[in-house]
């Protein structure tokens, strides 16, 4: 009987000590917020386009970090962003939901613009300038190609154009060899290994 008492007491006391130590540790090592959000947000293209189903890049980052959203919802970021997030999160990469298109920019056909400022209000990065009853213009260097301005325009005078490719921004493609392709494909299917 005493044996049992000893056992219970010692185990209980030991567990209590361990519990107290852990409780203190919890206080000392308390983590404010989620530092992963910031890191994921830094990988996103900041188009604020909402194509991921979240109202902006930061909310999507929060959802990914919290494990609510998958890593493959960012459309403009494409494969590279998906791989980078998967790598950071240490999860298996997933196929993209939608194929990323070539970079686009919005262009206002000025002779048709009625100067309603609706597109200016819609632009998440303030890339459209103009005043009421004046022609609006897209600052092409600032446009992220999110297409959010298309919908509000009452006269459909906004086009999405291909972003012009600059010779300075041209870069070499992967060498055209079997081995290069093999190595590259492997990376795409195997990045972010657990």
């Amino acid at each position: 009987m005493t044996q049992l008492l000893y056992a219970l007491l010692s185990l209980g006391a030991f567990a209590l000590v361990a519990g107290i130590v852990l409780a203190v540790a919890q206080k000392v090592f308390h983590v404010e917020g989620d530092p992963m959000v910031e890191k994921i947000d830094n990988l996103l293209p900041q188009t604020q386009c909402g194509q991921c189903g979240y109202p902006g890049c930061k909310p999507y980052a929060e959802a990914v970090s919290g494990g609510v959203a998958d890593v493959n919802h960012c459309v403009p970021g494409g494969e590279r962003t998906m791989l980078a997030i998967a790598d950071l999160m240490g999860v298996e990469p997933k196929d993209l939901e939608a194929e990323a298109t070539a970079p686009m920019i919005a262009f206002v056909r000025e002779d048709e613009c009625i100067g309603c400022t609706l597109c200016i209000k819609a632009c998440p990065v303030d890339a459209i300038i103009g005043a009421p009853k004046q022609y609006h213009t897209v600052i092409s260097d600032h446009c992220t190609g999110c297409t959010l301005c298309i919908e509000p325009c009452p006269v459909d005078c906004i086009d999405m154009l291909m972003k012009p490719e600059l010779i300075e921004h041209w870069s070499w493609p992967l060498p055209d060899t079997q081995r290069a392709r093999l190595g590259h494909d492997r990376r795409e299917t195997h990045a972010g290994h657990a």
Binding site: W172, P173, P175, D176
Partner: protein, 355 residues
């Protein structure tokens, strides 16, 4: 639309096939010595290993749907030859076949083929054999150079019989036809408490014989002279650099010299270490296998020193008499990390202010 070609448009003309062929050529002296010492047994072993290696490689390539032209790079033939030279003459045919298949499949193709293997294929196959069949792998047939060879190894039918059916075919036991290798003998005597020098005397050890290779051992590892000729050929052809062989051998010599000077009773002298077992074979041919050794000069020196320390430690303290092959395999494990951490200083980085 032409293929996108980046400079340089000139090429030095080096090729993998030539590199492999050079190594095979460098192994010729050792191969000839092995044939002289072990007669038809050596021939049978080498041919079996090389043919099996080539056939296995072909099957693997076919199975993985890769072009069979990869056979022409000579790497499979080289692996077969390497493997044969590290095996003792007492190995029967099925073991040789098994080892070759291991070497090609487990050692190389499973990692994606030439260039991707982590471990030296021939050595990994040999270690698998050593651990699976310790009796066969430590039975050293008396070579033809001995005063009274137990078997006439120049007799083709006798050798074929032996190769196909083992010692039973000749109605002899392993004991009757084998002798101890110097390393093994010294190790056994040491466990019985016999001092090194007495053991060597009892073995009738001679440095000259060891240098020329007239002693028991794996068929290709005995002759230091033949291997050195090959090694120097490789160095001259710039197929290998001095870093690994030099640092490897120097480390073994240094450690053994130091300990032999302090405790001559317990530790064997450096020259004994140099000529015994597979040290020279490993230092010039196995450890320098480009795929499984580091790329950078600094890394190669680290690799060589590591091999040296491990070889000497296993020989001196370990359970196995020979440590060279284990040492190389162990260091193979560390190659990716060595490659990463021992890169040369890049031009313009980390220079101190010069006055």
């Amino acid at each position: 639309m032409p293929v996108m070609l980046s400079p340089p448009h000139a090429h030095g003309g080096d090729s993998i096939r030539m590199v492999m062929l050079t190594v095979i050529l460098a192994l010729l002296p050792a191969t000839m010595v092995s044939v002289y010492l072990f007669g038809w047994l050596a021939v049978l072993l080498i041919v079996t290993c090389m043919v099996t290696a080539l056939v296995t490689e072909a099957l693997c390539l076919k199975w993985m749907q890769r072009p069979l032209t990869a056979l022409l790079d000579n790497s499979a033939a080289l692996t077969g030859l390497f493997l044969a030279l590290t095996l003792p003459a007492a190995v029967p045919w099925w073991m040789a076949v098994l080892a070759s298949v291991f070497a090609i499949v487990l050692g190389k193709q499973i990692y994606g083929g030439l260039g991707y293997n982590i471990f030296n294929p021939a050595l990994s196959a040999r270690i698998i054999l050593l651990i699976s069949f310790p009796l066969h792998m430590t039975t050293w047939i008396v070579p033809m150079s001995a005063a009274e060879p137990a078997l006439n190894l120049y007799d083709f039918s006798l050798c074929l019989n032996f190769f196909l059916a083992g010692p039973d075919a000749l109605k002899v036991g392993f004991d009757a036809i084998s002798m101890a290798s110097p390393l093994g003998y010294v190790k056994t005597e040491a466990t019985l408490g016999v001092p090194v020098l007495e053991a060597l005397k009892a073995y009738d050890y001679s440095y000259l014989n060891a240098f020329l290779g007239f002693e028991a051992g794996s068929i290709g590892e005995t002759s230091a002279l033949a291997l050195l000729i090959g090694g120097i050929f490789l160095l001259a052809r710039h197929t290998i650099t001095w870093h690994i062989p030099f640092s490897y051998i120097a480390t073994v010599m240094l450690l053994s010299g130091l300990f032999n000077a302090i405790y001559p009773e317990q530790f064997t002298p450096p020259l004994f270490h140099l000529f015994a077992g597979g040290l020279i074979l490993c230092a010039f041919f196995m450890a320098t296998d480009p795929v499984s050794s580091p790329v950078t000069p600094m890394g190669q020196i680290v690799f060589g020193v590591g091999c040296g320390v491990l070889t000497w430690s296993i020989r001196s303290f370990g359970g196995y008499p020979e440590g060279a092959m284990f040492a190389v395999l162990l260091m193979n494990c560390a190659v990716p990390l060595i490659d990463h951490y021992f890169r040369p200083r890049v031009y313009g980085h980390g220079i101190k202010d010069e006055s």
